[in-house]
């Protein structure tokens, strides 16, 4: 019996050791995934497929700037991360929660640890949106590495303001698979996650910039990707993030209070009845149901995206008839994922339901998606009319169902 007890006791100790070691949760094969342009040819984009020397340099630069692997995080100078309590920039990335008693290593604290715990299975270790769950959710998780985010308060194509990311993490994106984290993380923890997401973004953007820079360089050039070149690249990347806060679009004209008249004006704008000839109905449909004619028919879309194996979506697309396939290819977002226009008859708004969220969507569009910026095309008051209309539509379906409205819209569009 005594002989038997020893292995059990030993097991206990070894389990406790394996589990209790402070860095035990950081074991495993941790390596950043490289963007495709690093090693192979990408259609119409820069790549380093035939420049092995520059590729090695780019890799070395990245490792130096951001750390060789996710376990070891470097903070490049001037990076747009927030400061922790001690004033260290990037201190939230992998810090260990500071409590009243002093710094404390908690297994699930720090941006990286929190990201691993809450985000990784969709967004992936490198932030490439390629976690193991990613193929099974629609819309697919965001690839952070281009610095582009759909629902922002900044102009189309600009980097997001930190508030935008914070809102997304805190409240989730209703209508997608991005859950709300407000009840799962503390405010401090959300900040840490935001820093880590920013880190993955700027790292990815730097990588892209290096690829682009290397693409135009000569592989034999010993001075390629020199320090000062790299410094220029990074400061450009960081600059975009630094600028974001200044670019936040604040409606210069206060919201028109929602009134039947305003809603009706918004409807007329939506249907393209005004002289501006907006084409909202072309995508969102004359009934606002997201079934406009410029887009793939929702039934076809659902069949391709939601029926069957997600990894075989390309095959299902290939089975569509020629014009539909052509349309399908046109209606992809920046990341190559299929898009569907919002169904405005249900009160589900991915980018938020506040009037200002809708204002941003209409005025400056959705980055990476096909929703264009409308601002200079129509004025602020008109945007507010459309906002009022969109907010009212789910509860007043008759707005688009009055006899003749749809047909008229159709006629105007033609």
């Amino acid at each position: 019996m005594i002989v038997r007890r020893r292995p059990v006791f030993g097991l206990w100790i070894s389990l406790a050791l394996a589990a209790g070691c402070s860095d035990a949760d950081l074991t495993g094969p941790l390596a950043y995934e490289e963007q495709p342009g690093m090693t192979r040819e990408v259609d119409g984009k820069s790549h380093l497929a035939d420049k092995p020397k520059i590729r090695e340099k780019a890799r070395a630069v990245l490792a130096k700037l951001y750390g060789p692997n996710p376990k070891e995080i470097h903070v490049p100078e001037g990076a747009p991360f927030s400061k922790d309590e001690s004033g260290t920039v990037g201190g939230l990335l992998a810090n260990h929660l500071r409590t009243a008693e002093g710094p404390k290593r908690l297994p699930h604290a720090g941006g990286f640890a929190l990201y691993r715990r809450h985000c990784l299975h969709c967004h992936g270790l490198s932030g490439a949106g390629d976690g193991p769950t990613a193929p099974f959710v629609f819309p697919p998780p965001r690839d952070f590495r281009r610095g582009l985010y759909k629902f922002t308060s900044t102009p189309n194509g600009a980097r997001p303001d930190r508030d935008d990311l914070r809102r997304t993490v805190r409240d989730g994106l209703h209508g997608t698979s991005m859950p709300a984290f407000e009840a799962l993380l503390t405010k401090e923890e959300i900040e840490q996650v935001l820093d880590y997401v920013t880190f993955l973004s700027v790292r990815g953007e730097t990588e892209l910039a290096l690829i682009e820079e290397g693409f135009i360089g000569d592989d034999e050039d010993p001075d390629a990707l020199e320090d000062d070149v790299v410094a220029d690249l990074t400061s450009a990347v960081f600059g975009k993030w630094e600028d974001a806060a200044d670019k936040v679009v604040d409606p210069p004209v206060a919201r028109t209070p929602s009134s039947p008249e305003s809603v009706r004006r918004g409807r007329d704008l939506f249907l393209g009845r005004t002289k501006e000839k907006l084409e909202c109905a072309g995508c969102h449909g004359v009934k606002g149901r997201g079934d406009g004619k410029s887009f793939v028919d929702p039934d076809v879309f659902n069949r391709v995206v939601f029926r069957g194996d997600p990894s075989k979506m390309a095959e299902r697309v290939a089975q569509l008839d020629e014009p539909t396939q052509e349309l399908w290819k046109q209606k992809l977002d920046e990341w190559g994922n299929p898009l569907r226009p919002a169904n405005l008859t249900v009160p589900v708004y991915k980018g938020g339901r506040r009037p200002i969220d809708l204002y941003w969507r209409i005025a400056k569009g959705i980055t990476g998606a096909q929703m264009p910026a409308h601002y200079p095309g129509i004025d602020h008051a008109q945007i507010w009319d459309i906002v009022n209309f969109v907010l009212a539509l789910p509860y007043q379906p008759e707005l688009l169902e009055e006899p003749g409205v749809a047909a008229e819209a159709e006629a105007v569009r033609r």
């Binding site: 079934d291 039934d299 659902n302 539909t324 169904n343 749809a406």
Partner: protein, 309 residues
């Protein structure tokens, strides 16, 4: 069940020519098997009854298949193409321009006439298309989106099932049960020829039943085209409604059982031709008969519940 004095084990049967035991292991087993089958059909038919008693009214829509997003289509109208008329190309063109549907889909609608459904229209569009088609000499009628619950018997607008045909088929199956009884009683009296004859009759009747059911399935699945009160696609396939799901599952599994029965009967019939059975040894005939009666009884229940109610 058995007493100590009359051991039931085959190895202990006194002799081969003694009267057969009242129950053989085979008979016990076949009864048990039938009991499990009864529970299986109870599961299927019970589900049908539960659905029928308390199913949601949206279980079936006339213009769209169940997977369509009906909330998106609240006011949708459709046009039912009754007859294509002389100008098929013109009709196809009109439908294509009114709805933007692809060539293949339009061809499918035309083929489904007199119950071709053009969906995805609003009231005005439906009216215009109806008028346009009328001008082209086609027969067309506007229809509005409705959800309906369960088909009623003898209502060709909601019920695709032919009760008359199935009544005949039911009669055939009952007859086959009768001939099966005669076959068993013949072999019990040792009349081997008569037994073979009745087995053949049962086999033929069972095969006929199966044939009629295959014909019925063919009609439902592709042979005919049905009004939109039955199916939005013109065909009665398992996915068009809860009723269709239940119908195909229940009758399909019954049909499989009949098919298995027919194969069994064929084997027994061959055995009978070869003279395998006698007044003392007719277990296989009896078991096949029990199974066959069970299939018959299930059908009568099923016919009542699925077709008649």
């Amino acid at each position: 069940m058995t007493s100590a004095d009359a051991p039931p084990h085959p190895a202990h049967r006194p002799s081969a020519d003694a009267a057969p035991a009242p129950a053989t292991p085979g008979k016990v087993a076949i009864w048990l098997f039938l009991a499990t089958e009864i529970m299986f059909f109870t599961g299927l038919l019970g589900s049908y009854i539960v659905f029928r008693a308390g199913s949601p009214p949206t279980s079936y829509s006339n213009l769209y298949a169940p997977a369509a997003q009906l909330d998106r289509l609240k006011d949708a109208r459709g046009v039912v193409l009754g007859a294509v008329g002389p100008d098929a190309d013109g009709v196809a063109g009109a439908i294509a321009s009114a709805t933007g549907k692809g060539e293949a889909e339009v061809a499918r609608i035309l083929a489904a006439a007199p119950h071709g459904v053009v969906n995805g229209l609003d009231e005005k569009g439906a009216g215009e298309l109806t008028a346009a088609l009328g001008k082209l000499g086609a027969k067309a009628e506007a229809a509005s989106l409705r959800t309906s619950n369960w088909p009623r018997p003898y209502d060709p607008l909601t019920n695709p099932l032919s009760i008359d045909l199935t009544t005949v088929n039911t009669f055939i199956l009952i007859c086959s049960s009768a001939t099966m009884v005669l076959a068993v009683s013949a072999i019990q009296q040792g009349r081997k020829g008569r037994c073979s004859l009745f087995l053949l009759a049962t086999l033929v009747l069972g095969g006929t039943f199966l044939g009629v059911q295959v014909f019925e399935y063919h009609e439902l699945l592709e042979g005919r085209s049905y009004p939109i009160g039955i199916s939005p696609t013109g065909h009665f396939t398992p996915e068009v409604s809860l009723f269709a799901s239940c119908f195909f599952t229940v009758t399909g599994f019954h049909g499989l059982h009949v098919a298995a029965g027919v194969v069994t009967l064929a084997i027994v019939f061959l055995g009978s031709l070869l003279g395998r059975f006698s007044a003392q040894d007719f277990g296989a005939v009896e078991y096949a008969g029990l199974y066959w009666h069970f299939v018959d009884v299930v059908w009568i229940l099923l016919f009542t519940i699925v077709y008649l109610i």
